[in-house]
Amino acid sequence: MSKRKDNDFMDVDYDSDISMGDDDDFKVSKGKGKGKTVDKKKKEKGKGKPKDVQAYTWEANFARSWDTVQEDEGGSLQGAVNEFMARGRRRRLLTPGSAIRRTIIRHLVLLLDLSLAMLDRDMRPTRFDLTLQYAREFIVEWFDQNPLGQMGVVGMRAGLGERIGEMTGNPQDVLKAISERHKLEPTGDPSLQNAIEMARNSMSHLPTHSSREILIIFGSLTTCDPGNIHDTLDACVKSKIRISVVALAAEMKICRELCDKTGGQFGVALNEGHFKDLLFEMVPPPAQRNMTSRGGNPAADLMMMGFPTRLPDTSPQSLCVCHSELKSEGFLCPRCLAKICDIPTDCDICGLMVVSSPHLARSYHHLFPVSPYDAVQTLQDASFIPDCHACGRLFPTTPLTTVTEGLSPTGRYRCTTCKHDFCSECDVFVHDVLHCCPGCGK
C-alpha cells in the first residue's frame, strides 16, 4: 500500500460503517502478517502477499449508496424509483422475446476454493463464510430453476481436489454436503488441475444430451498443479465441459482462458453484492449458442417419459417395487402400474422414465417468454379504460412531466397481442414472475 493511499483514505476510515476496527480483526490480520497497526500508520509489509493488490475493505472508498438516489425538487423519490424501473425494463427488452434453445438437463460441479486465501477478510465476514452462504442460496435457486439438473461439489485445498458432495438431483443432499463448516476449514494452496480433473471424471459417464458444467469460485491467485493444466483444459474442451469462474481476488490468465476456451463466463467480484450477482448469473440455463453457430446437430434425444398418478396417504397399503415395503403413499407408473416410492426415477419393472410433469413445466417459461409490453406515450393513445386490466388499479389521469426513457408517462403498458393496458407493477410482475399475460393468456 502506498503512502498516498494511506493519506487519501485516512478520514474515510473513521466515518465508514465498515471500519468498526474491532480487536479481533486486528489480531487476525496481524497474525497473517499484514502489518496494520492500531494507529492506522502503514508499516512496510514484510512479505507482501500477491493478493495485496486490493485495498482493505475499510480503506476502500466508501460506497455512498444514498448518492445514487436523488430527490427531485419536490423532495420526492419518484424520479429515482422510475429510473430504477426503467433500467429493469431496458434490461428486459434486451432479452429476445422469441424462444431460444437452452440446455435444460444440466449437470454442474461446484468447485469451491478452500485454500488459505479464502480466509481473507476483504469480503465480510470472510471470503470463505460468504462463499458458503452464497453457495447455499445458489444451490436452492439453481435447483428451483433447473429441477431436472444434478449438482456435485468438489473442494480445492492443500493441493488436492476433494470430493465434498456426490452428483445428485436432490438439493437437500447438496446443502447437507456443505452444511458442516468445520469439515471445510480452508488450508493450504488450491490446485485447479486436480480439482478440474476430479470434476471431469465424475461427469464423464453422463449422456450426451445433457450439459456438463463446472463453476469455480476461486479466491486464490495461485494454483499448484502436478502437471500441465493446458492438457486438462484441452480435455475439457474435448468432452464439452463448460467452465465458468467467479474470481474473488483478481483476474488470472489461466482462469480467463479456461472460461474462454470452454464457452463459460468469467467474472471478478468487486464486492459482496457483485459476487452474488456473478454467481446467480449461472442459475438460468445457458443458451446453446456454441452448438447452433457450429451448425452441427446437437446431441439431442427424444426420451419416452411417463407421468404418474400419486396415491394419497389414505389409500390401502401395498408393497412398493423399489424397497418392497408396505406403504400407502407412492406413485403409479403409467405403463405397468407398479408402485414407486419417489420420482423422478426409472421404473424398476418396465424401465420407463417416470417424472412429474410440473418438473418439466417449470422450465417452459424459458421457451415461451412473454413479449415485452409497449409503454403508452400519450393520453391520446391510452384507451378509455380507467384501470389496469390485471389488478384493477386506477391509472393516473394526468401524464408525468418528467419522462424517463422506456417508461410510460401515463403509467400504462400495453400488450402487443391483446392490446390491454397494464400498470407498471403488473408489467414487472408479469414478466418476472408470472410469465403469462393476463389479457391474452400467452
Binding site: 424462444a99 434453445r101 437452452r102 438437463i105 444430451h209 445433457s210 446437430n297 446437437p298 439431442a300 427424444l302 419416452m304 417419459m305 411417463g306 407421468f307 404418474p308 398418478t309 400419486r310 396415491l311 394419497p312 389414505t314 389409500s315 390401502p316 401395498s318 408393497l319 417395487v321 406413485f331 403409479l332 403409467p334 405403463r335 405397468c336 402400474l337 407398479a338 408402485k339 419393472i349 420407463l352 410433469s357 410440473p358 418439466l360 413445466a361 417449470r362 422450465s363 417452459y364 417459461h365 421457451l367 415461451f368 389496469c388 386490466h389 390485471a390 389488478c391 384493477g392 407493477e425 403488473c426 414472475v433 408470472l434 410469465h435 403469462c436 399475460c437 393476463p438 389479457g439 393468456g441
Partner: protein
C-alpha cells in the same frame, strides 16, 4: 379475549385475503341444472350464486380486516367482479333497513356485473368459447401481488401492526368446465407464481369431469381439491372446507385430495397424456415420436425414432388392460391398480 394465550392470538388474529374465481360457462351451468335423469343432484346457477354469496358474506363477517376479491371466468373473457379495496359508494335508495350494508353492496355488485356480462354474451353468440380460467387466475395473482406490495409499503411508512402483510392469501377456484389442455403452460406458470407468492390455491369441482391441472394446482400450492358428491350441499362444503384461512388449516382436518394425476398436455395435439415423448433440449412433450422438435427445431436421430416407435405400446384399447393384468400378476396383485384410471384408460394411451 384477553385470556387467550398471546402466541395463539397472533396466529389466529391475522386477517386473510380470499380471491374467488367463479367459472361461469353458460353451457356447463345449463348441463348442471338438468333435472334428475341427467343429474342426481341438479344445481342451477341461481341457487349456486345464492350459496356462493352466503359464503362470501361469511368470509367478510368472520373478521373485520378480511379482504375479498371475486373474479369471473366467462367464455373467452375474464373480469374482476368485486374487490373489497375498491371503495364504492352505496346508492342511498338501495339501503335496506334489514340488511347489513357491506353484504348488500357485495351481493348487488356481483349480481349486477354477472348479469351484465351474461346479457352481453347472449347477444354476441360467443358462449361456445372456452372459459378464460387462465385470465381470471392470472388477474387474481396480479391483484394479490398488488395488495401485498401495497401493504408492505404501508408498513414501512406507518408501522401498522395489523396491516395486510400478515394476511395469508388464498385463491378458491369454483370450476364447472372440463380441462382446457390448450392452456396447460399458462396454468402451470400461474401455479409456480402462486408458489412463489405463497398463495394457496383451493379447488372446488362443482360439475363436470375431474380436471388434472387444477388437481396439480391444489397439490403444488398445498390447497385442497374437492369434487362435490352432493351438489345441493354446496354451501356446507364451502364453509367447512374453504372458509378457514390456510394458517388455521393445520389445526383442522380439511378433506385432502384423493389421488393426484400428474399427467401433462402434449404440445402437438394438446391432448392430455400419461406417457409422452420429451425433447431433451427444451423438454417439450409430444404424444408420438416426431422427427423434429416443433419448439426448438432440434432434429432427432432416426435411430432413436425407430427405437421409440418399436417400443410404443400398441394402439389397441386392450393394451391397457393387458398391462394392468401383467403388472398385477408380476408384483403380487396390487390392490389399488384395479381402481385407478377407470376414466382415463380408453383414449389416452395411443
Amino acid at each position: 379475549m384477553s385470556s387467550a394465550p398471546p402466541a395463539q392470538a397472533v396466529a389466529t388474529d391475522k386477517p386473510s385475503h380470499l380471491s374467488v374465481i367463479v367459472d361461469l360457462s353458460p353451457s356447463q351451468w345449463h348441463l348442471s341444472s338438468q333435472p334428475p335423469p341427467a343429474n342426481t343432484f341438479p344445481l342451477t346457477l341461481n341457487s349456486f350464486l345464492s350459496q356462493l354469496l352466503a359464503f362470501l358474506n361469511s368470509h367478510i363477517a368472520s373478521k373485520h380486516e378480511n379482504t375479498l376479491a371475486v373474479f369471473g371466468a366467462f367464455p373467452g373473457k375474464s373480469l374482476m367482479l368485486y374487490a373489497s379495496t375498491e371503495s364504492e359508494t352505496i346508492n342511498p335508495s338501495a339501503v335496506d333497513a334489514n340488511s347489513y350494508p357491506p353484504f348488500k353492496m357485495l351481493d348487488s355488485t356481483i349480481i349486477k356485473r354477472i348479469e351484465n356480462e351474461l346479457d352481453q354474451l347472449d347477444t354476441d353468440e360467443e358462449s361456445t368459447l372456452p372459459v378464460a380460467l387462465v385470465g381470471a387466475l392470472t388477474k387474481a395473482l396480479c391483484y394479490i401481488n398488488r395488495i401485498s406490495h401495497f401493504s408492505a409499503a404501508n408498513v414501512s411508512k406507518a408501522k401498522l401492526p395489523d396491516s395486510l402483510t400478515t394476511s395469508d392469501p388464498h385463491i378458491l377456484i369454483l370450476s364447472v368446465s372440463p380441462d382446457l389442455s390448450a392452456e396447460y403452460i399458462p396454468i402451470m406458470n400461474s401455479i409456480f407464481s402462486a408458489q412463489k407468492l405463497k398463495v394457496t390455491i383451493d379447488v372446488c369441482k362443482i360439475y363436470g369431469p375431474e380436471t388434472v391441472f387444477l388437481q396439480q394446482a391444489a397439490h403444488l400450492t398445498g390447497g385442497s381439491y374437492i369434487s362435490l358428491e352432493r351438489r345441493d350441499a354446496l354451501l356446507q362444503y364451502l364453509t367447512m372446507a374453504f372458509l378457514s384461512p390456510p394458517s388455521i388449516r393445520k389445526a383442522l382436518s380439511v378433506p385432502t385430495q384423493d389421488k393426484i394425476d400428474f399427467r401433462a398436455a402434449c404440445f402437438c395435439h394438446k391432448k392430455i397424456i400419461d406417457i409422452g415423448f420429451v425433447c431433451s433440449v427444451c423438454l417439450s412433450i409430444f404424444c408420438q415420436p416426431v422427427p423434429v422438435c416443433s419448439t426448438c427445431r432440434t432434429k432427432f436421430p432416426i435411430k432413436i425414432l425407430q427405437r421409440l416407435n418399436a417400443s410404443r405400446p400398441p394402439p389397441t384399447p386392450g393394451s391397457n388392460g393387458l398391462s394392468r393384468t401383467t403388472s398385477m400378476s408380476g408384483t403380487g396383485g396390487l390392490p389399488h391398480s384395479g381402481s385407478i384410471r377407470t376414466s382415463t384408460s380408453n383414449g389416452t394411451l395411443r
